[in-house]
Structures are given as C-alpha cells and as structure tokens.
Symmetry: C2
Subunit: 122 residues, 2 copies
DNA sequence: GGTATATTTCGACAAATAACGAAATAGAGG
DNA sequence: CCTCTATTTCGTTATTTGTCGAAATATACC
C-alpha cells in the first residue's frame, strides 16, 4: 500500500504530471526540463526526486549532465497502464499542448547554450 | 487537466483510497464508513466531499441516512479503468484486508444500533 | 411546535507540501 | 591544485491539506 500511495501522491501534482508527459517523448536533461517548466532548478530537482523515489523515472549521469527518462521497469505491472491512460486523458489539454510546443524549442537548442541562458551570470 | 488533477489529488490520500475500496462492494451509509475508518464524522464527511467533487462517488439521501456509492458515470472513460487497476494492486495489502474484515462486521450490525454506538450520548 | 438524530459545514490547528535562494556536491578542464 | 559549471541538498517561507470539535442543517417523530 505504501508503494501504491507513493505513486499516487507523486501523480498528485500538476508540475510532476507535466514532467512525466515531457519524458514520454524520450530522455531529457534536467536543464531542458528546467527550461520547460520555468521553475527554479531546485524545485525541478525536488520534483524529479519524488518521481524517482516512486520509481516513475530513472536517471543517468553523463559528465555534468543529468538525464531523466520514464522508468523501463515500474514497481508494479499496472503503473505503465495507468500512465498510458493518464497521458491519453491529458494529451490534448491546453497546458500539455503548450508544453509540447515549448519542448520542441527547448530540444532544438544546444544544451551548452541553453544552460548559459538559464544559469549564466549575465 | 483540472478535472484530471482533481481525480489524481482525490486519490492521493490513503483514507480516501480506503473509502473507495470499501464502496467497491456496494453502497454504504456514512455511518458505516465512519465506523470503518475510525475517524471523526466530520473528517469522513470532508473526504467524501472531495471524492464527490472529483465525481468518483455519488450520494443519495434516504431520510436521515446518507448513502454513498462508486459513481456509475465517471467524468472520463479512463477513470473506471484506473480505479480497477488501483483496486487490483491494493486488494491484498494488510490495510485493505483489515478493512474488509471490519467492513463485514460493520455491515452486519443494525444501523440504528451502530449509530447509537458511534454517536450515543453515553 | 419541541426533541432527537444523521450528516455537513465551519473554524482552528497541526502536518504536509510546493517554492525559492543559498550552500554543497560532483564532474570537467586547465 | 584552481576555476567553472550542472545538479542536488538544505533551510526557510508560504500555501495546502488532514483532522478535530462545535455549530449548523436536514430529517424524523411525538
């Protein structure tokens, strides 16, 4: 029950649902997710931590880059199906459509340049 | 998205998940749910209100008795399927097994007597 | 009408959670 | 080693949410 509740609680925040949906299209770097969400880096990091604890996402590090993706192996068989149903429900909502557009731009930008824009000192 | 988030938030509390699972076996009166949950009547009422707002439960009044049941018509097609998957995941967990036992006792008790026991002045 | 009763709403409080900036950590490059 | 940089953790604050008891509401009965 604890594990199921961890998942349900992880899904109870709109920003985290948006993160999951963004990862549906494939692995993304934290900086890309930060750019998409327009939240403080620490906030995005915290949200991703909750998703990781609930085993909804996996992460890998490549140098200074931290990549996140939807889990390949969910904690329970039903989780993938619940996520599919959820994504189906929200894929044509305004917020998600907006995210899709922004994500396309974010992904077309060079990551070094993106980070300079996000974290640069100027 | 608002509606989907209402549902996800409604599911993010363990007591509310337990209430939904209890209603799976059929319509129940608030007093029976109060007896099951061992929470203040006002708390159970508040939880049920959230579930009703999310269109996860329906209610009907019969005199002084207020009955709740799982919705016949969810807001979206996926909701029923998500609930089924959820129930499947938790049906053999300790808390739910305990609830099932307690619910059997609660339902076998005369409701007038139950209320006297719960709300009686003595 | 008055009294009793099942339930909901209200108000208050405690606990949990989302958000931020600062500090810490980890990795890269010279 | 030092400096730079991507990310996470920490500490703080604001907001939201769960819980309770009291008050209000709705229904039944005399």
């Amino acid at each position: 029950m604890r594990e199921v509740m961890d998942i349900l609680k992880a899904l109870a925040d709109e920003n985290r649902v948006r993160l999951l949906f963004a990862l549906r299209s494939g692995e993304l770097c934290v900086c890309q997710l930060i750019a998409l969400m327009n939240l403080a880096p620490s906030t995005v990091s915290k949200h991703l931590s909750i998703l990781r604890s609930a085993r909804l996402v996996d992460s890998r590090k490549d140098g200074r880059w931290m990549y996140y993706s939807l889990s390949k192996k969910f904690r329970s068989a039903s989780t993938g199906r619940v996520l599919d149903l959820l994504f189906k429900e929200i894929e044509n909502t305004d917020q998600i459509l907006d995210d899709k557009k922004n994500l396309k731009n974010v992904c077309s930008e060079d990551m070094e340049k993106l980070c300079r824009r996000l974290f640069g000192k100027s």
